[in-house]
């Protein structure tokens, strides 16, 4: 065994995993998050820091290009795995890990510069073929690829003869809120990013660190929500217990809290929320969960620091005209970020008593975490209308806190793709 192999082996003992959740892939995502937590593997924040790309759920056409882009941005050694079945996750994590240790495979991946590998992926290989797929560079194809890319990188002839660095366009300018002409920067957030709603893309227009305008896009929305699934089954006549509903709802709150706390940089509390989420969904007995749930919700709701840091962000006043699409039964949004996460905490403690309740699920007494089914509206879709209003004028540093405090579930949206503008 030579040095490279020793290093590959050592590095693969704790790979960083980037999870790309596809629409409707929540169940797989939860399994990956749990598997990664149990193994002590870190979750990668960006492609640059990722060793394994885990694609959770069925890949839709819209995501093809996006996934390639993420894969291109990942440095070797790297691997990618994909599944639609939560039960396969554990095995695939192991396969990905041995893929990272496979020297021949990694060298062939590294031999290609990071911009070219996507061509191999496109050549007849089905998406997300598991780690065992063997990729060999095809010299002819590589030449072609580099020709193409040098064309791309050529200095911009279309820029009126002006030399632009690397062919990048100049920033455009516009008046800011005080009427000063300032550079505008367009920064997209999402859709493949940890702690971020599946399929959501927020296009931000920044001036300095103030969000001037936000434009929201949903990719592949409406695939069917994991969080309302027991209610759906109950609606078609299947026997579902209250306990199952309560656990799903507590799980949804804990998932949202986990994301929010992670974005707020409170990793320990986020890990605790996710651990409780996995336990609640996994069927741990209610009395055993009770202490943990109450402790977490108390700790988060009472944290003065978290309150001070998020107070006044994303404020929605109660008398603000609420879009017609928001029903009276939609999750309440009034208040600022602090109000919203405290409401999750209260809801969590409310669920504690029902975690082992065997009576049949009744949507009138226990509502689904997000979408009341009997009315034809889509609360998350309406949150979606609200989001740009909360973001416009906010500072960049608070953008993700605001999105996390609303945590829209795009899987609930009707399938039509709809874009909305702020203001």
């Amino acid at each position: 065994m030579d040095l490279t192999e020793v290093l590959l082996r050592g590095g693969a003992s704790r790979p960083h995993v980037l999870i790309a959740t596809m629409p409707g892939g929540t169940a797989v995502r939860l399994a990956v998050e749990e598997g990664v937590r149990r193994r002590g593997w870190p979750v990668a924040m960006t492609p640059a820091d990722a060793d394994v790309l885990f694609v959770a759920g069925r890949v839709t056409v819209d995501f093809d290009e996006l996934l390639e882009e993420v894969w291109r941005g990942m440095p070797a050694p790297r691997d990618r795995v994909h599944t639609v079945d939560p039960d396969e996750v554990s095995g695939l994590l192991g396969i990905a890990r041995s893929g990272l240790m496979d020297r021949t495979r990694q060298q062939s991946l590294a031999a290609l510069s990071m911009g070219d590998t996507d061509r191999l992926q496109r050549q007849g290989k089905p998406h997300g073929a598991t780690a065992s797929e063997e990729t060999k560079p095809d010299p002819a194809d590589l030449d072609h690829a580099s020709d193409e890319s040098s064309d791309h990188d050529g200095h911009g002839h279309d820029m009126g003869g002006m030399e632009m660095p690397a062919g990048l366009p100049m920033a455009d300018r516009a008046e800011d809120r005080d009427g000063l002409k300032l550079d505008q920067l367009h920064v997209p957030f999402g859709p493949i990013m940890p702690d971020w709603p599946t399929g959501l893309v927020v296009h931000l227009t920044l001036q300095g660190d103030v969000i001037q305008d936000s434009h929201i896009e949903a990719i592949g929305a409406g695939a069917g929500s994991f969080w309302t699934e027991p209610w759906q089954r109950s609606a078609v006549g299947e026997r579902v217990s209250t306990a199952e509903g309560a656990r799903r709802r507590a799980g949804a709150r804990l998932d949202s809290l986990g994301r929010f706390l992670a974005v707020a940089g409170w990793d320990d509390a986020a890990t605790m929320a996710r651990r409780l989420r996995d336990d609640a969904l996994g069927g741990t007995q209610g009395p055993q969960l009770k202490a943990g749930l109450e402790r977490l919700s108390r700790r988060v709701a009472r944290s003065r620091t978290l309150g001070l840091l998020t107070r006044g962000l994303g404020e929605m006043t109660a008398d603000e005209p609420i879009p017609a699409s928001v029903s009276s039964r939609a999750p309440r949004l009034e208040g600022d970020v602090v109000h919203r996460y405290r409401r999750w905490c209260t809801d969590l403690t409310d669920m504690v008593a029902r975690l082992d309740d065997g009576s049949p699920l009744d949507a009138a007494t226990l509502e689904p975490p997000r979408n009341p089914l009997d009315v034809g509206d889509e609360p998350s879709a309406s949150l979606f209308d609200v989001l740009p209003r909360l973001l416009d004028g906010a500072e960049l540093g608070s953008a993700r806190l605001i999105v996390a405090s609303v945590d829209p579930d795009l899987d609930q949206r009707p399938a039509r793709i709809q874009a909305s503008h702020g203001r």
Binding site: V6, G10, P165
Partner: protein
């Protein structure tokens, strides 16, 4: 008394510093494992060390139209500043450099990271990295003045800028005992200049890693190691500044230094998990309105004591 060691001992500084850093990482890994509900083991404690082979063998990533020189130079500044800052820290009764202005040197090295991180943020030509770099400057504006006043308090108490004199002035009473505000502000600043824990805003999750976002391979290793070296150097420096250096009963001086350094490191590593990220835009106000007046008041205490002597 603190004596100067031969010149070659400067080479030992990074080795000792690295040793303490590994200990800090091991404690951190065990705390993380406990929260995640994993069983403790030696393998878990040494888990973070897997980053070394992982990043050594990892490809270096580059971005479109980067300012490569500025970028790499900025990255390199972080660990270099950590090691250079540690040169003036006495270990037991020996020090690699018995400089007359040790406190100023330490402060200057730590300020190097301002430039370093700003360059590291600017270099990759990526919006989120740049915002991360600027965030460090904003954070610097908040923590630097309180930190300087905290350092001035110790220097005033000893009537010297030399770290050896500061240790000598604490033979009867630790500065931590009668300068508690300076001590706490100093410890908070250690998080700030190593951008870890509650002060990881420049590398925040809300920016997808900010200044670290575009880094892979050796580049990432250099900065991540640098962060922890800075944290360790900061913890080690708190011992001569506030906790009486190597002085103590029974045990030899080097052992006292080790014990005290590990204790401070333990507190810092534990504390970093207790709080969410403190956003600089909110913290600047608190720093200027509360911490600066408090630390100035703190400087008055040793100033008056020294005048009355």
């Amino acid at each position: 008394m603190v004596a100067s060691a031969p010149l070659w001992s400067a080479l030992l500084v990074p080795v000792v510093l690295l040793g303490f850093t590994v200990a800090a990482l091991a404690v951190d890994a065990m705390l993380a494992a406990r929260v995640a509900g994993r069983r403790m083991s030696v393998a878990v404690a040494l888990g973070p060390l897997a980053e070394v082979p992982r990043l050594l063998v990892g490809q270096r990533r580059t971005t479109r139209a980067p300012d490569a020189l500025l970028w790499r130079l900025g990255l390199l500044t972080v660990p270099v500043a950590g090691v250079l800052a540690a040169v003036v820290i006495p270990f037991g009764h020996v020090t690699a450099s018995r400089m007359d202005v040790g406190v100023v040197w330490f402060n200057a090295m730590e300020v190097l990271t301002w430039a370093g991180l700003w360059m590291a943020g600017w270099g990759p030509n990526s919006a989120l990295s740049m915002v991360g770099g600027y965030r460090f400057v904003a954070q610097g504006l908040a923590y630097e003045l309180p930190l300087m006043f905290a350092l001035i308090a110790t220097a005033t108490g000893a009537q010297s800028l030399s770290v050896a004199d500061i240790v000598a002035a604490q033979t009867q009473l630790w500065f931590a005992a009668w300068m508690p505000v300076a001590f706490v502000v100093y410890l908070a600043s250690v998080y700030a200049f190593s951008f870890l824990g509650p002060f990881d805003y420049p590398a925040g999750r809300d920016l997808a890693g900010g200044v670290l976002g575009e880094l892979s391979g050796i580049d990432r290793l250099v900065v991540r190691a640098g962060q922890w070296l800075l944290l360790t150097a900061g913890a080690a420096m708190s011992v001569p500044l506030f906790l009486g250096g190597g002085n103590g009963p029974l045990l030899p001086a080097w052992l006292w230094s080790t014990v005290k350094t590990l204790a401070v490191l333990g507190v810092l590593v534990w504390g970093r998990r207790r709080l969410p990220t403190i956003r600089a835009d909110r913290y600047v106000e608190a720093a200027w309105v509360v911490l600066i007046p408090l630390t100035i008041a703190q400087v008055f205490v040793p100033a008056l004591v020294v005048l009355r002597r």
